[in-house]
């Protein structure tokens, strides 16, 4: 199996990409949309390993680092929802040119899954694989602010903790960046994330595998039913796996991974018969 690393996209910001393939055109290919902030780091090794396993199953994978993250150019504060959606499209072009797949989809975990949905809504793909997508980005952003305050409460002298999440929001609204675990988040990112008040009303792909943890079932149910009503094939399943994106070790969520490989192979066979 080949693992090619390269820069792609515009001259500035240069984007970093990794292509996993077996040297031949792949019948099925995936663009991986990475999770956000610390979750991109904690899941990086696992998702790289998962990519290698997919490539062994004749599924081509393109992983990339949005600008302002990882090995790509740019600063953290330049990362926005618009920029990552645009760059997902650029990564897709690389896959189309280099892997020449019969069918192409997006894969995402958490924030990455939300990006996958929004990117597919803008420019359709054949299928989506979503792991524990974030349906409410506004709540997610506030959770990040709360986590930062918790960290400060643990690590800093009491006299230095002088702010609340509301004050952090006011900072953003005043046009200033906020520091979350060393990641500088911008007012533009905040504005764009809270503007996504709901997911697309119509399904962003004709085939979707949506894997969630049991506690996410209720929040997902409405969207799943709505998308099904448009005739799309939505395979929604809950799998009891630990919250692996909060854990710094490298184990792969085997049940999520195995079900995804099985689904990709089966749905690829269906596609071939049509």
């Amino acid at each position: 199996m080949s693992v090619d690393t390269f820069y792609f996209g515009p001259e500035s910001p240069r984007l970093f990409g990794v292509l996993h393939h077996n040297g031949r055109p792949a019948p099925t290919s995936l663009v991986f949309c990475p999770p956000f902030c610390q979750e991109m780091v904690t899941t990086y090794s696992r998702l790289a390993r998962f990519s290698k396993q997919l490539a062994e199953n004749q599924i081509g994978v393109m992983r990339f680092h949005p600008s302002g993250t990882g090995e790509s150019d740019g600063r953290t504060c330049e990362f926005t929802l618009d920029s990552v959606l645009n760059e997902t499209g650029l990564a897709r072009q690389v896959v189309e040119e280099r892997l020449k797949a019969n069918r192409l989809g997006y894969f995402g975990l958490r924030f990455g899954a939300t990006v996958a949905v929004l990117a597919a809504a803008a420019q359709p793909v054949d299928f989506l694989v979503l792991w524990c997508p974030l349906i409410n980005l506004q709540r997610y952003f506030h959770d990040l602010l709360r986590l930062q305050l918790t960290k400060e409460a643990v690590h800093q002298r009491r006299s230095r903790i002088q702010r609340t999440t509301q004050q952090m929001v006011e900072e953003l609204q005043a046009g200033n960046n906020v520091d979350i675990f060393g990641y500088e988040l911008s007012p533009d990112l905040y504005r764009q994330m809270i503007a996504v008040s709901s997911w697309p009303q119509t399904p962003p792909a004709r085939q979707i595998l949506w894997l969630a943890r049991p506690d996410e079932q209720r929040s997902a149910a409405e969207t799943v039913e709505r998308w099904r009503s448009f005739g799309s094939k939505i395979d929604f399943e809950t799998i009891a796996e630990p919250i692996f994106w909060e854990d710094d070790s490298s184990w792969l969520p085997e049940k999520f991974a195995a079900r995804t490989v099985q689904w990709l192979i089966e749905s690829g066979d269906d596609h071939g018969k049509q």
Partner: protein
């Protein structure tokens, strides 16, 4: 302006993916810093809050070369490997040789976080006199064996001594009260006990090997005879481990070494320096210290540039 290039180095048939940061201007002395991530196989080479990327960018801006790489069979390196601590030492030795020869370096420095720092210390002892690092920067160094039984190092089981040390402090009545009233606390306590039982029921030879290697870090620090900078966050449990268990009252006699290490303890600092202010201080400490070793001197590179641009090292009688 500094720039990056992607490189591949290899060892034992394992190709490893790396990124080299080239200095913004051609430096007088060609010094390269190998930047090492802090976990076993779970952390990518750019690190939490891109810290290794930021440190490397700053080094390049300050006139140093920097190399970051993914160990064999992990992250962006091809293949899958059940990586061990000792593999990381071997990989680092290979990376240092690659870096020194490919980039015609006059000096190599190891910069490591946590387990990366422990790997740097071990590798410095493995390399011969001409290959060993000319200096080391050790951040939140992993030097106490009990600290090695953590999930981020790939071990879910823990040992009784680590368990007792991590739970022994604090008020007993408040613990009892929380145990009775707090469901999360009860669940955590259950998980801790389970981890200890599992640790003993399934003797983990890899963990024992890691702990044995980590327990030697202190002794190896005393043997390293070149400049060394140690950086800790004041709130990092590893700083407490280091002062309380590894080097209480300068047991290792580091202050009596011919070149005693410089120690920086960052106020309110955490294990991975996770804030803009901490990162600024970390980078400043790193670059300033390196500059005291190399930049102000009038030393020039031992390499000469031919008219065709190729660097050569003149033969020495």
């Amino acid at each position: 302006m500094a720039s990056n290039e992607l490189v591949t180095l290899s060892r034992d048939g394992w190709p490893m993916h790396g990124v080299v940061h080239l200095p913004a201007t051609e430096p007088r002395r060609r010094i390269g810093v190998v930047v090492l991530q802090g976990n076993l196989d779970s952390s990518p080479k750019f690190g939490a809050h891109w810290m290794f990327r930021r440190v490397s960018d700053a080094l390049a801006e300050a006139g140093y070369y920097a190399l970051r790489f993914d160990n064999r069979g992990t992250c962006d390196s091809p293949g899958e490997c059940d990586l061990k601590f000792r593999d990381r030492i071997i990989d680092l030795c290979a990376a240092a040789k690659f870096f020194r020869s490919e980039y015609r370096l006059d000096g190599v420095v190891f910069w490591g976080l946590c387990m990366g720092a422990a790997v740097a210390v071990h590798a410095s002892a493995h390399l011969n006199r001409h290959e060993k690092p000319d200096a080391m920067i050790l951040c939140s160094v992993l030097a106490h064996p009990d600290d090695a039984s953590l999930p981020e190092f790939g071990y879910r089981a823990t040992t009784m001594s680590a368990f007792l040390r991590n739970t022994g402090s604090g008020n007993l009545s408040s613990k009892l009260r929380r145990f009775l009233t707090d469901r999360s606390y009860r669940r955590n306590a259950y998980e801790c006990v389970k981890a200890v039982v599992v640790g003993y029921a399934h003797r983990n030879p890899t963990l024992r090997e890691l702990q044995s290697d980590v327990s030697r870090v202190g002794a190896l620090l005393t043997r390293y005879d070149r400049p060394m900078l140690m950086i800790f966050g004041e709130k990092d449990p590893f700083w407490i481990s280091f002062t309380k268990w590894v080097n209480p009252d300068d047991k290792l006699r580091l202050s009596q070494k011919k070149i005693p290490p410089k120690l920086v303890v960052m106020e309110d600092g955490d294990h991975v320096f996770a804030s803009k202010a901490q990162m600024s201080e970390l980078i400043e400490s790193t670059v300033e210290w390196l500059n005291t070793l190399w930049a102000p001197t009038n030393l020039t590179s031992t390499y000469m540039e031919r008219p065709n641009g190729i660097l050569i090292k003149p033969a020495v009688d």
